[in-house]
Amino acid sequence: MLQIEDLSVAFRTRKGEVNPVRGISFEVARGEQLGIVGESGSGKSVTSYALMRILDAGGEIRTGTISYGGIDLRRAAERDMRSIRGREISMIFQNPRAALNPIRKVGHQIEDVLLQHAQATRQDARAKAIEALEAVRIADPQARYDAYPFELSGGMCQRVVIAIALACSPRLLIADEPTTGLDITTQKSVMDLIRELARAREMGSILITHDLGLAAQYCDRIVVMKDGRIVETGAPQRLFTEPEHPYTRRLVDATPVVGASIRSLLPAEARTPEPAHRVQDHPVLEAVDLVKTYPSKSGPVQAVKGISFAIRAGQSLGLVGESGCGKSTTSEMIVRLLDPSSGKILFDGQDIAAVPAARFAWHPLRREIQMVFQDATDSLNPRDTGASAIAEPLARMGGLGGRALKARVAELADLVGLPQPLLSRYPHQLSGGQKARVGIARAIALEPKLLILDEPTAALDVSIQAVVLNLLVDLRARLGMSYLFVSHDLNVVRLLCDEVIVMKGGEIIERGPTAQVMSAPAHPYTRALIEAAPQPPVKTPA
């Protein structure tokens, strides 16, 4: 149905020409579910924009042919393209909230597409838009018709985006990272919905994702891209069991699956024995009846409803839950950026919750609790070099200066594996993984007893994630730190944590040793979380 032959795309930028796609060929058969997998910068999204001819300004198709049902999409007139987009080939995007017009009712946005492609008249557009909302199983579609995107949850917005894409019953759906930023159970329901609708309508689909596990679960065939080229194509099972290209092997290795160990995420040649960490009996931190209440228009809302837990010295505790479960509020209270409404936080037996968060920066225990933030880019000051970011806590609380400070920064850079020459660079000159290393070096600079890791790898490619997770394992063994690892990704928590706490609606619903919770979850919600995670084929041991 769709045939792409030797496609290459070029962008003119101020720094000269960039070639994100360099001569790729693939095809999608009628009703086939194709996955395009690659890490950031591999050119997977640009490929889809090129075939829809919606490249940003400055981008153009250099070579190749794109043929859809006998039509040459590269040479088709813009008017013909317009009737193909949305009618024949549709697209859904990542970040669904931003993908919808913020100031237009979602029902009207669906109507716009229906009217554009003459699938509805002014009289029946409303009814058909509600039908489209029903098709993506939005509860109470009549009422949702009048909603604005900001009034809907992320998963709901993605359903609306899918409704827009499928309103005119296209024959090919391109899904560009459709579940990035969504909760794991939402991801599952969105992906299940796409698969089900695609089957019912005999619609072909292209799933573009960085998550090999997700693609393996939902696609018939996978194309692996790297640096604008296709390195390997094959059935998911085959890719996982006998990857041919070394890059595919690295991707497969780096994808956390059941049965993987943290070292097995790394390429075979980098696998050193995993260092053991010693968990002691005395707790480094105890949370007792922590409550956080926020005021809201409709009365106070309890984000955290009196939870208690302890982290023992040297232990890594996983804190798992979906957005809105209170895990971020909890971690912010522990790191003393937020004051609990009631309850105690005992650090080495001392109640640090008694010190207001605003004054905790001057508390002697400040240096003992540090945090690695979720977004490595946003958590670095864009005007500070890597070296000054790492030096800041040392100068402020470590009392270091001059040559000693410089030496310590260099030492920390070595510790986190950041090459010395990169220390003088600014965040925008560093890659995602390098920025994550700077963030970790800054957090461990004062050798804290407790490190709070707030989804530290959520924004990273899987191969970088593998490296960062292994770095965290090494550091824990070397420095004897305790970790509070906040994450929604059970597969990652499984690899890193000794014990795990599952939160839902501000309460702890399950806790226990990680292996036990994972293999025999007691609470149905924990089971749902584990089942929602993508289950790629079991890989062969390498």
Binding site: I54, R87, S90, D112, V113, Q116
Partner: protein, 340 residues
């Protein structure tokens, strides 16, 4: 939904009331802080101490400040703003005749400016780096870098003196026309209401040059903001969704991008309106326009406190009203306001 919105707008209007009260206090105190003794000025150069004191008593200036304030508020409540010394007319009457003149000039200039700047900004944003973009940049830079009195004089020189197509720059109406019966004070509207199209056309001819002068000056911020907001809107994710859904170019550009881009443009428009109303005194002088700006300057020069007070009050109320209108316009365009 709708009642929520209406409630929010009503609430916003209620918030304007304390501001108005504050404005009354400040305009009162501000004029009391003016240098010079109005009583001495009012009594005339040949007045003796006794007669100055008499005038002071007549004006109520000998009373304590608090009492003066309440007298002032009481007068205000009756619509009495006092008497202007320089014109001998009640200030309220002066403002009523001059404020519409300024407003008419400013509004027409802004309409003209928007009619040019917004399409220009949209064009420049859809074709960045092309000749349209460069033309836009040159035009707005030229417009903003020339002082209004200079542009005004150049326009008079070219269109009145050299070409002779414009009427003499002497106020709102040539003396051969009779002013239309006052309904709104806007000559264009009043003449249209009276069906007197000859006068309407005469008023329009007088208005063109000063309005163009002001419009040239206000072109820059509006065009720039439109361009920037459009560029930002066009690069957002929802535009990509709209394009991928095959929506037509017009729908994407105007239905989706421009409506989102209008929000910052409206904010800019409000600021431009505010400063234009204050800054058009030079244009009023050049074109002998009987507006409120020139009136205020004359009043200030002679310490005519009643007139200054009236002017400050009128302008402040106008700004409060303007901000209210902008906030409401915002709430009407953007459903997110008032909920998040």
């Amino acid at each position: 939904m709708v009642s929520d919105r209406a409630k929010m707008i009503l609430g916003r209007m209620a918030q304007a009331l304390p501001v108005v009260a504050g404005v009354v206090v400040i305009s009162f105190l501000l004029t009391r802080a003016l240098p010079g003794d109005p009583a001495a000025y009012f009594a005339g150069p040949a007045a003796s101490e006794a007669s100055i004191a008499e005038v002071r008593e007549a004006l109520g200036l000998d009373k304590p400040l608090v009492q003066q304030f309440f007298l002032y508020v009481g007068d205000l409540a009756q619509g009495n703003l006092g008497t202007a010394i320089s014109t001998g007319q009640p200030v309220a009457a002066d403002l009523a005749s001059r404020l519409p003149a300024s407003l008419e000039l400013t509004l027409v200039a802004l309409l003209l400016s928007c009619a040019v700047a917004i399409p220009l900004g949209v064009l420049a944003a859809t074709r960045p780096g092309t000749w349209v973009d460069h033309l836009c940049r040159v035009l707005v830079t030229a417009g903003v870098s020339m002082p209004t009195f200079f542009t005004g004089i150049v326009l008079i020189y070219v269109f009145y003196y050299l070409l002779g197509v414009a009427p003499s720059p002497l106020g709102r109406l040539d003396f051969i026309y009779l002013p239309p019966p006052t309904v709104t004070g806007f000559h264009l509207i009043d003449a249209a209401l009276a069906g007197d199209w000859e006068t309407w056309f005469g008023a329009l001819k007088q208005l063109v040059l000063p309005a163009v002068t002001l419009a040239l000056f206000t072109l820059a911020p509006i065009a720039r903001m439109t361009r920037a907001a459009m560029l930002q809107a066009l690069s957002s994710d929802f535009i990509r969704t709209a394009r991928a859904a095959g929506l037509g170019r017009g729908k994407v550009l105007y239905g989706y991008a421009l409506r989102n881009a209008l929000l910052p443009v409206i904010t800019t428009l409000g600021m431009v309106f505010s400063f234009t109303l204050g800054a058009n005194v030079l244009v009023e002088k050049v074109f002998a326009w009987p507006g409120i700006g020139s009136y205020a300057v004359e009043a200030l020069v002679v310490s005519d406190y009643a007139a200054v007070q009236g002017f400050v009050l009128a302008m402040a109320l106008l700004f409060v009203l303007l901000n209210l209108v902008i906030d409401i316009a915002y709430a009407l365009i953007d459903p997110r306001i008032g909920f998040s």
